[in-house]
Amino acid sequence: MSIYSVPEAVGLPQSVEEGAAFAGRSLSLPRLSLFRLLPVNGSGVVASAAWAVFGLSCLWWEDRGDWSRTHEVAISAFVIAGIVLVTTLSGSLLGRFGAGLQKRAPWLLVLGLFLSLWEVATAKFGWLPLPFFPPPQAIVEVYTDDLPKLLDSAFASVKLQLGGYVIGAVAGFLTGVSIGWSRSVGYWVHPILRFIGPLPATAWLPIAFFTFPSSWSASTFLIALATGFPVTVLTWSGVASVSNAYYDVARTLGAKPSFLVLKVAIPAALPHVFVGLFMGLGSSFAVLVVAEMIGVKSGLGWYLQWAQGWAAYANMYAALIVMSLLCSGAITLLFRTRDRLLVWQKGVVKW
């Protein structure tokens, strides 16, 4: 094969067969070639091995504590190792799933190694002190044995967050458009915004909890407040920064004021509005968790607090993972919506 004499071509097999032939011989190639080959084929095999190592690490030594899911975790690790290996070897036969897995193989490798290390450092040799650093099987145990409570909490959090966020976003958007458009509204609202807006919403907690009829409505208000401020300011600046040339064009074409607001100012301001919605989402998460920890008797923040009271650290990590997935999911959803509405923009950040 002429490829061996052309180093540039080594990392890029021309076909599947050629690639497979390559993988077989890669060990005899110089180091550089092996390294180049890794993202293509080899890393899938190594990732599979890493997961097998994780499974073995669960079984090889005795647990230092009493965890009921060690075997299940080990078996799952072997299953994942098997899936990764089969997918890697079958190459392009599995289509998109196979391709996606190949792309993520380096990550799977690192994850497998990390889990092995975590397993060994906690459950097997206790390098990290228990109970503050529970092993993977302890966290899996939370998901299998305490699932209903965790799901209830997650659902309560989503409900509270969604209600407050939607109210805050709508109110902020309408306020922002009004101050951006009308001078007289700006005259009255701007000072209030400057006075109240920068106050962290959490500072209202003590007042909100005794002025509102229920802790749920108080929390909704606080989340709306935390969302509303950035959305208002960004919408306002978006509307205010719309080029006068757009208005001139629309006016010479016969546009009435309502058209100028709805079809010129608002679409032109939308990129700003989404920045505000993104910032509002971030600060409202903080308010949500604090409100749940302090006053609301449900939700993931409350679950965290409750788990800490029982020194159930595995439950805390489990809840943290769920929370992270939910927050990240919410941001993903927001960015998807933005990408769909703002297809006309060039070079938007991919989340």
Binding site: S243, A245, Y246, D248, V249, A250, R251, T252, L253, G254, A255, K256, F259, K263, V264, P267, A268, L270, L342, V343, W344, Q345, K346
Partner: protein, 266 residues
């Protein structure tokens, strides 16, 4: 300086063009308390269907005059009339094509062109006019493209279609070709000339390109430095289609450059 000549009635005048009367218009801007006069007692009349170029040094106030004609601003003194009626605000019979295409980046080419009909609330029944206007400027293949995907010349064509779809009686061109490369500019000059001849609307073109003015217009009005005052009103009576090499046009160009004090290098 007085007018060099008076135009005879433009031969292409059709019923669709509007007449424009500018009577004693003066205008000024307040800049940090100081009053900056931009137009000084400007008066002229444009007959229906005429193509008039307003020529003058950069920053002399020609574009301000166009904003007054479009109705985007009101003059400090004097009146502007379209077909005898005073101009008090923007109206879709007078459409402007600006130096920048200022397409709405969030709208596709089709939706940008549809803007005027949509703003007037007649888009639903008149969708075919949008298609026709896009066809007219030769961009049928790009109706679903977004402005950032277009070249400068294509964007300016879309802006032209966005104006023409309204069936204007007075087309106001504010240096629409000023930012295009010279090849695209030559092509589009010819296109504008033929569009104007076919449709018969009155056209007001602001430009600082003398060749463009004499190539396109029936009449060239030359302005002084700011505050703008009319220096000369010159008829260009060569028949269309014109040729850039026409010695008559070259002679005229030289005269106009002379009026602007720029004939030394000719």
């Amino acid at each position: 300086m007085v007018a060099l000549a008076v135009t005879e009635r433009a031969s292409t005048a059709l019923a669709r063009g509007a007449a424009l009367d500018v009577e004693g218009v003066s205008h000024a801007f307040d800049i940090d308390g100081a009053v900056l006069p931009v137009l000084d007692d400007v008066s002229f009349s444009v007959k229906p269907g005429e193509f008039v170029a307003l020529l003058g040094p950069s920053g002399c106030g020609k574009s301000t005059l166009l904003r007054l004609v479009a109705g985007l601003e009101a003059p400090r003194s004097g009146t502007l009339r379209e077909d005898g009626d005073p101009i008090t605000g923007p109206f879709p019979s007078r459409v402007v094509v600006f130096q920048d295409p200022t397409l709405f980046p969030w709208r596709t080419v089709w939706n940008n062109v549809a803007l005027g009909l949509e703003a007037q609330g007649i888009l639903k029944t008149q969708r075919h006019r949008v298609d026709a206007a896009i066809e007219l400027v030769g961009l049928s293949g790009f109706r679903n493209a977004y402005p950032h995907q277009l070249s400068g010349g294509m964007a300016q064509r879309v802006a032209l279609a966005r104006a023409l779809v309204n069936d204007p009686q007075l087309l106001i061109l504010d240096e629409p070709l000023g930012k295009l490369d010279s090849l695209t500019r030559i092509t589009m000059q010819a296109e504008i000339a033929s569009l104007w001849q076919r449709s018969g609307f009155t056209t007001l073109l602001v430009t600082h390109d003398v060749e463009e003015a004499v190539f396109l217009a029936n009449r060239v009005i030359v302005f002084s430095d700011r505050p703008a005052r009319i220096k000369a009103d010159i008829a260009v009576d060569s028949p269309y289609p014109r040729h850039r090499g026409d010695p008559k046009l070259s002679e005229l160009r030289r005269n106009i450059l002379g009026l602007l004090g720029l004939d030394a290098t000719w």
